[in-house]
C-alpha cells in the first residue's frame, strides 16, 4: 500500500508531475545526445589514430619511440613471438618496418612514410584493403606498393606506373628502388592520405637492407579496455632493457590530452544543464513539501513513523525520477541509433577545412551504454540530494504546528 500511496500521490497534481517528468526526460535526452556526439567523436578519433594506425599496443626495440630511425629495428624472434601470441587477450600481432623515403615520379618528388607490412595481418588490423579506391591490394611478397590518394595525386601516378624511392637503409646503407604502383588508398586522415606508402614486409626489408628486422609490432586485442592489463603482463614477461611496450594512450598522448580537455568542457555543459533541471525538480519537491504540511502532520498524528513518511515521499520522488529517466532513454535510444548508423556529414566546404586538421568530417554518434547509465546516475544522485529538503522538512516537522489551519 505504501507504493500505491506514493504512486497515487505522484499523480495528485498531474500537470506538475508531468512537467517534472518531462523536464527530466528532456534533460536526459539532451545530455544523451550531447554525450553521444562527444564520445562518438572521441571513439572515431581513437579509431582513426589507434585502431587504424598504431594499434592498441605496440612493441618496439627500447628507444625506438624517442628516436624513430631504422637503426632501432629489432628481430621478431620465436621467443618474443610466443610470448606475444600466447598472451590472453591478444588477437593478432602485426609486424611492421617503418621508415621514410623520398618518392619520385617524373618531375615530382615528395617525402613519404613507408610501411613494410604483412598484407594479410595488416588488413586484419587496419582494414586497409577496404580503403583501396583504384588497383588491387598487396600480395604476401608483392614487389609493388600502395600509395595514399593524396600522394598519388601529387606525384600524378596511375596504376602500373613505377615510382622511385630513395632513402637510407639499416646502418647507413643506401636504399633505392623502383616500385610498381599496385593500388591507390584513400585514408580518412589527410596526413596519412598525403604521405603513406605500403609495401610488403619482405620488400621493405630488402629495400632498407634490414633482413628479418622490424621496427614495431602492433597488437590487436579483444577489448581496448584490456590495454593496461595486457601491457603490464607483456612487460613482466619481456626484458625492458631490450623491448619497450606501449599502450595506445602513450602512443598518441596529444590525442588523449585533447580528448580529456574537450571532455571536460562537455562535462561543464552537462553540469549547467543539470543545474537548470535541478532547480526545476527542486521547485516541485519544495511545493510537494509545502502544500502537504497538514497532511504530513495528520499522518504523523495517527501513528505513521517519520521514517516511513520520509520513505513514501522519497518513493514519490524516485518514481518521478525513474519515469523521467526511462522516458528520456526511450526517446534518446532510437534517435542515437539512427545517427549512429547515419552520422551527420559536414557540407563540402566545411568538410575540407575539417579534414585539413586531420579529423574526419562527420558528426559520429556513440551508443556506448555509459552514455545512458551516466545520465541516469547523475539524475538519480541529483534527486537524492534534492529529496533531502522534503525529508528534512518531515524530520523537523512539529505535528501540532503543521496541523494548524
Amino acid at each position: 500500500m505504501f507504493f500505491t500511496l506514493a504512486w497515487r500521490n505522484t499523480w495528485r497534481n498531474k500537470r506538475r508531475s508531468l512537467i517534472t517528468v518531462l523536464s527530466i526526460t528532456f534533460a536526459v535526452l539532451l545530455a544523451c545526445v550531447m554525450r553521444s556526439l562527444q564520445i562518438g567523436s572521441y571513439e572515431r578519433m581513437i579509431d582513426n589514430s589507434v585502431r587504424f594506425y598504431t594499434g592498441y599496443i605496440q612493441i618496439h626495440k627500447n628507444g625506438y619511440w624517442d628516436d624513430k630511425v631504422i637503426d632501432n629495428s629489432f628481430k621478431y624472434d620465436t621467443s618474443l613471438q610466443r610470448t606475444v601470441t600466447t598472451m590472453h587477450g591478444v588477437k593478432l600481432d602485426v609486424p611492421r618496418l617503418e621508415s621514410f623515403a623520398l618518392t619520385s615520379f617524373r618531375s615530382q618528388t615528395k617525402g613519404a612514410m613507408v610501411m613494410g607490412v604483412d598484407p594479410q595481418r595488416e588488413n586484419k588490423l587496419t582494414n586497409v584493403k577496404e580503403k583501396i579506391v583504384r588497383g588491387r591490394f598487396l600480395q604476401e611478397d608483392d614487389e609493388g606498393i600502395l600509395l595514399g590518394e593524396g600522394l598519388a595525386g601529387y606525384l600524378k601516378v596511375q596504376i602500373g606506373d613505377t615510382v622511385t624511392l630513395l632513402s637510407q637503409g639499416f646502418h647507413g646503407a643506401n636504399a633505392a628502388g623502383l616500385f610498381a604502383v599496385r593500388g591507390i588508398i584513400r585514408f580518412a586522415l589527410p596526413q596519412q592520405n598525403n604521405q603513406l606508402i605500403y609495401m610488403s614486409l619482405p620488400r621493405a626489408q630488402w629495400f632498407y637492407a634490414a633482413p628479418e628486422l622490424i621496427t614495431s609490432i602492433a597488437l590487436l586485442i579483444d577489448k581496448p579496455a584490456h590495454t593496461t592489463r595486457i601491457v603490464s603482463l607483456l612487460k613482466s614477461k619481456t626484458d625492458s632493457n631490450q623491448i619497450e611496450i606501449m599502450g595506445w594512450r602513450d602512443l598518441v598522448p596529444e590525442l588523449v590530452q585533447s580528448i580529456e580537455l574537450d571532455n571536460l568542457s562537455g562535462k561543464v555543459m552537462l553540469w549547467v544543464l543539470y543545474l537548470v533541471i535541478g532547480f526545476g525538480m527542486f521547485g516541485t519537491f519544495l511545493m510537494m513539501a509545502a502544500e502537504r504540511q497538514y497532511e504530513f502532520g495528520v499522518m504523523l498524528a495517527v501513528g505513521m513513523r517519520r521514517i516511513r513518511l520520509q520513505a513514501v515521499v522519497f518513493l514519490e520522488i524516485s518514481l518521478m525520477t525513474v519515469l523521467g529517466v526511462l522516458l528520456g532513454i526511450t526517446v534518446s535510444l532510437p534517435i542515437l541509433t539512427y545517427f549512429y548508423y547515419n552520422p551527420i556529414r559536414y557540407d563540402e566546404e566545411a568538410a575540407k577545412a575539417i579534414e585539413s586538421f586531420g579529423v574526419e568530417a562527420i558528426y559520429p554518434f556513440s551508443l556506448d551504454p555509459v552514455i545512458f547509465t551516466n545520465q541516469a546516475y547523475a539524475i538519480f544522485i541529483m534527486a537524492i540530494v534534492l529529496s533531502a529538503y522534503p525529508i528534512w522538512t518531515i524530520y523537523k516537522m512539529k505535528v501540532v504546528e503543521s496541523m494548524r489551519p
Binding site: R12, M304, R305, R306
Partner: protein, 228 residues
C-alpha cells in the same frame, strides 16, 4: 471504572508574543475508561491544546500525563508515535483522510502501520465501514464523499487500531444537522456497546447534549466538570 487518562498539573505556555500565553494553566483532569466526555468552552479557552496534550501530539510546558499508567510526557518522538498508533484514535474537524486512498484503504492504512496482515486488515476495514453505514462507499475516495460520510470513515479509521480511547477535535464542526446526528448516534452506540472511551472538544450544543460528562474550560482552566 479504571482510570484511563490522568493529567496532573499540566500547563502549556506559548511565547510567540512578548506576553506569554497560558493556553492550559495548571490543570488536573482524569478520564475513566468508557467515558463519553465533551470538553467545551469558548474559542481560545484551550480545548484543542488540552486535547493535543492528552493525545500525545504536543508536550506540556509542565505537568504530567499518564495514559493507562504510562507517562507520555517524557516519551521520545518515535516512541510517542508508536504509542499513539496503539492507544489513541483521532478524529479531526477537517476529516483528514488520505485523499488518494479509498475509504477502505484509509481504514486499512492504520492497520498497515500496525503491521497487521492483509486479510485481517481487509476484513476489519470492511466490518467497520459497514458498521458506519458506509458499506456502499468502500471504494470511494474522500473527494467523492460528503462531509458526513468522510467523518464516518474517519471514525472507522480511528477505531481500526483498536485504541484505548478516541480523541475527537470538533468532529461535527463542518457537518450539517443530519450528519451530526447520525455521527453522534454512531459514536454513542460504539461507546455504549463496546465501551470505547471518547473525548471530544466541541462547542456544538448537540455534542454537549449527547455527552455523559461535560468539562468546561475557560482561560485554560476547568471551571466545571459535570457527569450525567
Amino acid at each position: 471504572m479504571a482510570t484511563l487518562i490522568e493529567a496532573t498539573g499540566i500547563s502549556k505556555v506559548y511565547h510567540k508574543t512578548t506576553v506569554p500565553v497560558h493556553a492550559v494553566n495548571n490543570m488536573d483532569l482524569t478520564i475513566e475508561e468508557g467515558e463519553f466526555t465533551a470538553i467545551v468552552g469558548p474559542s481560545g479557552c484551550g480545548k484543542t491544546t488540552l486535547l493535543n496534550i492528552l493525545g500525545g501530539l504536543d508536550y506540556p510546558s509542565s505537568g504530567k500525563v499518564e495514559i493507562a499508567g504510562v507517562d507520555i510526557t517524557d516519551m521520545k518522538d518515535r516512541d510517542l508515535i508508536d504509542f499513539r498508533l496503539s492507544n489513541i484514535g483521532f478524529v479531526f474537524q477537517a476529516y483528514n483522510l488520505i485523499p488518494v486512498l479509498t475509504a477502505v484503504e484509509n481504514v486499512e492504512f492504520i492497520m498497515l502501520l500496525q503491521k497487521k496482515g492483509k486479510k485481517e486488515r481487509e476484513v476489519r476495514a470492511r466490518e467497520l465501514l459497514i458498521q458506519m453505514s458506509m458499506g456502499d462507499k468502500l471504494d470511494s475516495r474522500p473527494g467523492e464523499l460528503a462531509g458526513g460520510q468522510q467523518q464516518r470513515v474517519a471514525v472507522a479509521r480511528a477505531l481500526a487500531s483498536k485504541p484505548r480511547f478516541i480523541l475527537a477535535d470538533e468532529p461535527t464542526a463542518n457537518l450539517d444537522s443530519a450528519s451530526t446526528e447520525n455521527l453522534l448516534n454512531l459514536m454513542s452506540q460504539i461507546n455504549t456497546e463496546q465501551h470505547t472511551t471518547f473525548v471530544f472538544s466541541t462547542h456544538d450544543q448537540r455534542v454537549m447534549d449527547k455527552a455523559k460528562r461535560l468539562v468546561t474550560l475557560q482561560d485554560g482552566a476547568i471551571i466545571s466538570d459535570t457527569r450525567r
